[in-house]
Amino acid sequence: MVNGTRKRLELVTALSTNSMGEAERLGSMVVGVLALQGDFAEHAAAVRRVGANVLEVRTAEQLSRVDGLIIPGGESTTIARLMIAYGLREPIVERARAGLPIWGTCAGAILLAEEIVTLDRPGLRLVPMTVERNAFGRQIDSFEADLSPGVLGGGALHAIFIRAPRIRSVADGVEVLLRLGPEMEHEPVAVQWRSLMATTFHPELTEDTRLHERFIAMCEAYAAEASRSALAAAGGSG
């Protein structure tokens, strides 16, 4: 919480030397949460706890207004189907390619993967990794565990895995942020590739907002960059 707030203040301070308009735009930075199905309300609440604006995204028009997108936990087949049926899949892919930060948790992580084992419909194919659905077993195999915090710093991170997928392999260049312990062969459970983040567990079900802070900082950097280029473009033409 403290880290996230400080970062935001630094960004705002850095921009205050520029026009007021830019700082205002940053203040109106909006984190989208894909709200087709799943625990989008829990994500929205976590984003609000960190202090950022939230928009539930159900249409392409709503998607065009956000500075980052969270794809929540839920049923991956359902979300994948609804993304296609409601014309959201292509716009999400396009914005991701243009640098929009996207974070997928559980079902969202599945949908971000380039290769998905046992999903009968296309995902977003954005992160060069292979993910296997429901790979720990059925619901009775769902579990909670403490993870070593790695790059996040601070104490152990309590992680909740529900009918969770497993990241089976990642390409070179994909950064592993968090891993399970030695009993589970240190397998990766949180990864980042460029502006895309994937976690196979559910930070939105705990009070710990470290991952939300990290993602919101990515969204802020993206929003600041976008308004800088908009300003430069306006200056260039004038």
């Binding site: 199905q37 359902t78 189907r81 059925r138 565990a145």
Partner: protein, 295 residues
């Protein structure tokens, strides 16, 4: 690294992943595939949908394991199945089959007229029906990790589902204005543990996910229940008793996602195949009212 399974968090957590979704009753693997294709977030595997249970009479029990296994193998979404109220052996059997959620359901003939299952003893999570806040909190006290309002299953008539959802939501909003000194006597009046009543007041909602069930027959019915505060919707007979199940399933899924968007609701309600024929509640003999089963 300590790994814990079957905690209340992971049990209630699966229900959180089902939110904003539609759980459909299916009686064959083929139905299950149609439901998954339409975007169901889970299926309820059973031998007969509630309207057929209602018309054929007799004792309704847990489904044959071969049917449940067939449905588990047919789809990759979570599979639920029903047990009779109080029948903890049927529940053990379903747990052994690897079912993802058990519905201790009034739609089947109750096995115990005094006690519901002690659901804390199971690794698999349970969903239970309720008609009001007290009943919901009693089930949660017994270990239910998800609640659904009962409605009146197999009728295609939404009136009871609305009554039960309004009863729960109305009680929660009255709770918001109650002082601490009122909580104990209120808890006694509704027959619920005071700690759960307090938690409900603090959260401003049930402590677990609450779906609507029993009588949803159209996309508008589903959206109505969402606007009344449901986290998602169970559709029993409403899909596979309609003329074109796949279209009805698609339309109801869409109505639940876009329940606040009137244009989309108008769109998905247009030229729909006939919904299931409905029943008027007061034409049903008292002894055949399913919602009265359980306490």
């Amino acid at each position: 690294m300590v790994v814990e399974t079957a905690t209340q968090t992971v049990k209630a957590g699966l229900a959180q992943m089902l939110k904003g979704g539609v759980i459909m009753d299916v009686v064959t693997p083929e139905h299950a595939r149609i439901a998954a294709e339409a975007g169901a977030c889970s299926v309820m595997a059973l031998e007969r949908v509630p309207s057929d249970i209602r018309s054929s009479g007799g004792v309704a029990r847990m489904s044959d394991p071969s049917l449940i296994r067939g449905i588990i193998d047919a789809v990759s979404i979570p599979v639920m199945a029903k047990v009779r109220i109080g029948h903890f052996v049927e529940a053990s059997i379903l747990e052994a089959l690897g079912v993802d959620y058990i519905d201790e359901s009034e739609v089947l003939t109750p096995a115990d007229e005094s006690f519901h299952i002690n659901k804390h003893q199971f690794a698999v999570p349970f969903v239970c029906g309720c008609r009001d806040l007290g009943e919901a909190l009693r089930r949660i006290a017994e270990g239910a990790a998800m609640i659904r309002t009962k409605g009146e299953a197999g009728t295609g008539n939404i009136v009871e589902a609305v009554r039960h959802m309004r009863a729960v939501q109305g009680a929660i909003s009255r709770l918001q204005s109650m002082g601490d000194e009122e909580l104990v006597s209120y808890s006694r009046d509704i027959g619920a543990p005071v700690e759960l009543v307090r938690q409900t007041r603090e959260m401003g909602r049930l402590p677990v996910v609450n779906f609507a069930a029993g009588g949803v027959a159209t996309p508008a019915d589903a959206a109505l229940m969402m606007r009344l505060g449901a986290d998602g919707v169970f559709v029993g007979s409403g899909i596979f008793k309609s003329e074109e199940p796949a279209r009805m399933a698609n339309a109801i899924v869409r109505a639940v996602t876009h329940y606040e968007d009137d244009d989309i609701l108008a769109d998905v309600s247009t030229d729909l195949p006939s919904a299931m024929p409905g029943l008027e509640i007061d034409k049903i003999p008292e002894s055949e009212i399913l919602a009265k089963r359980g306490w």
